[in-house]
């Protein structure tokens, strides 16, 4: 049933549909970035009746091949935990996944748009689904994806003064950007700010042999 929809898309947009596959029951159609608006409009208004845009996901593939198992190096607040030099990062780096659904036909499909890291622009689909407004603002906030034509593209969860985009894989997990200066916490296992080991010291080592100090003496 879902295959018919993929075939329909392939027939209607011969140029724009790059490939399609299915994984664990999810139908994925990779489309050209320029035609995403047109295809979304077709999906919503055409016979597919995809009236519901469930979610727009974004995956940053920067460390997809290099990130490894095991805790540890994430304690660093200076450098990312992984060795970027080991392998060339993937290009296109970003994958947007538009999960759309038809309440009438009970079908879903995921449109995937791939973006290179030097050109993270994609046309907005706010004119197709109103709900795309906030999801696109969310992706702009978290990944820095530039949605061309969005009526109000500004940060949604982070504060306006925030620098960078926190869900990009090269944004360190423990980096902090306080608006008012934080108190000096010299030590806490997972407390705010950098651990005592500083950059590159695994989290597992920062509290090994830690003196049993009275927490009230901190200030």
């Amino acid at each position: 049933m879902a295959q018919a929809l993929v075939d329909l898309l392939r027939d209607t947009f011969k140029e724009a549909v790059l490939s399609s596959h299915s994984h664990r029951g999810d139908e994925v159609v990779v489309v050209r970035r320029e035609s995403v608006q047109e295809i979304c409009r077709f999906l919503k208004d055409g016979e597919a009746r995809m009236q519901l845009l469930r979610y727009i996901a974004c995956v940053d593939l920067l460390t997809y091949d290099t990130e490894m198992t095991g805790g540890g190096a994430l304690a660093s607040n200076e450098v990312p935990a992984y060795d970027l030099a080991k392998k060339a990062p993937r290009e296109p780096r970003f994958q947007l996944g538009y999960n759309v659904y038809s309440v009438v036909r009970k079908q879903s499909v995921r449109l995937r748009v791939e973006l290179r890291s030097d050109d993270v622009k994609v046309p907005t689909v706010t004119s197709v689904w109103r709900t795309a407004d906030w999801w696109e603002r969310y992706l702009f906030d978290m990944f820095g994806i530039d949605f061309i034509g969005h009526p109000n593209l500004k940060r949604i969860l982070m504060y306006p003064e925030f620098q960078g985009h926190p869900l990009r894989k090269d944004y360190p997990t423990r980096k902090r950007q306080p608006l008012v200066a934080e108190l000096e916490f010299p030590d806490l296992i997972r407390g705010p700010g950098p651990g005592p080991g500083g950059a590159g010291v695994p989290m597992s080592q920062t509290h090994v042999g830690r003196k049993n100090v009275d927490p009230t003496t901190y200030d």
């Binding site: 990130e67 996944g97 999960n99 309440v103 009970k106």
Partner: protein
């Protein structure tokens, strides 16, 4: 001067008037915590509203990427903190979909049972809050008493009232404790009695009816356009419930109905939640009747922790335990979007694995996020006092909206 007094309308026309901006929240008792609403008023009428969120942003996705697959579970508790079991189930079903396994038969029933208890708690919270904020404090007390009864059952079952972290890949963490079924059967009639009390107190109450009927109306097509799901969408008459449209776990074996609204207003959203409590009650009773004996978690040491007897008694057991704890289970590479029916709508998880012991990314579609984005649309043209019932009826939960 005198001619103005002859015509009162002309007098009014001369009064200076301008738009006024009012801040509602983030620390406003009716804002449920963390939303700030910048409202532009013309007199009493709302002409514009801008919701601002992010005060409760905890970095769910970023934290999840630094955790093993099972360490994400406590973060999911905090998404919708009123019905955490539904979040646990939604997330863990995503991981199981990536791996390509299913949980045991008994665990399926347990998940449905826990999920429906949580759904009742969530709806009770929403309804009680509407009552409370419209001045019916009694309703709130009834609702909270019923919710406490259920949360006590969840506490003795999972070990925690709200931060349950109760599911595991391939099953669940704890089986029903001795005597649980009897106690649940004892407290359910009281829960339904209290729900009925709320029903008769509010549903035909003149003041409540006037303040909610015809307020915040939205029709089905527009609601879909805004990304509504769950009770808010069904209040507009659109029949979309994941439990019926794409039955997961054992929902296909349950006999229940999907109540629908007609007008899509605040009253419909309220009454629909009441009706859904009754349906969840039906599902719970059927679960208790049908639940089979058997293991609560699969016997596959690649994903599930070995029993303690094996951990302490065999080298294979201790190795499996060590690997699962230190490295996490190895989930095959892939990308899935998994959706379940949360208490407020479709709860989606977009999960990507690169084949290691940590999720490459876990992103959540909180059902409240798109619904909150439509709040300006719902309250425009109404009076300031109408913000409270409309905002309550969409039951925005800060934890899932702001991640």
């Amino acid at each position: 001067m005198t001619e103005h007094h002859d015509d009162p309308l002309a007098l009014e026309a001369d009064l200076p008037s301008s738009l006024m901006t009012v801040n509602l929240g983030p620390s406003h008792p009716a804002m449920h915590g963390t939303v700030r609403l910048v409202v532009t008023l013309d007199g009493e009428t709302i002409v514009d509203a801008v919701p601002e969120i992010g005060f409760l942003h905890r970095g769910f996705t970023k934290s999840s990427e630094a955790s093993t697959w099972h360490q994400v579970l406590p973060y999911t508790d905090r998404l919708n903190y009123v019905s955490p079991i539904l979040n646990n189930v939604g997330y863990i079903m995503g991981v199981e979909k990536l791996i390509g396994i299913e949980c045991t038969e008994r665990a399926k029933y347990l998940r449905v049972l826990g999920g429906e208890i949580s759904r009742i708690c969530d709806h009770l919270t929403c309804i009680s809050a509407i009552g409370l904020e419209l001045g019916a404090f009694t309703v709130f007390l009834y609702g909270v008493e019923a919710r406490e009864l259920l949360w006590d059952r969840i506490a003795e079952w999972t070990g925690a009232r709200v931060t349950t972290s109760w599911t595991r890949v391939g099953g669940v963490a704890t089986d029903l404790p001795p005597g649980f079924v009897e106690r649940l059967r004892e407290c359910l009639p009281r829960v339904m009695e209290l729900t009925h009390e709320i029903d008769v107190l509010l549903s035909r109450n003149r003041i409540f009816y006037d303040r909610t009927r015809g307020i915040g109306v939205i029709d089905g097509d527009e609601a879909l356009d805004w990304g509504f799901t769950g009770p808010c969408l069904r209040a507009c008459g659109v029949n979309y419930d994941v439990r019926k449209a794409h039955p997961y776990l054992v929902y296909d074996r349950m006999d229940f109905e999907v109540p629908l609204g007609e007008r899509g207003d605040t009253y419909d959203r309220y009454i629909l939640r009441l009706r859904e409590i009754e349906q969840s009650h039906r599902i719970i009773l059927q679960c208790l009747d049908q639940i089979p004996p058997g293991p609560i978690i699969i016997d596959d040491w690649r994903y599930a922790l070995p029993p303690k007897k094996d951990v302490f008694g065999s080298i294979e057991g201790v190795m499996a335990h060590f690997k699962l704890i230190m490295e996490g289970m190895m989930v095959p590479a892939g990308e899935v979007y998994v959706y379940t029916e949360g208490a407020n709508g479709e709860l989606g998880f977009h999960i990507v694995s690169n084949g290691t012991g940590k999720p490459y990314t876990v992103q959540v579609r909180g059902p409240g996020f798109p619904i909150l984005s439509a709040l300006p649309r719902l309250i425009k043209g109404h009076a300031v006092a109408d913000i409270i019932p409309i905002f309550d009826s969409i039951n925005m939960i800060g934890g899932e909206v702001e991640q």
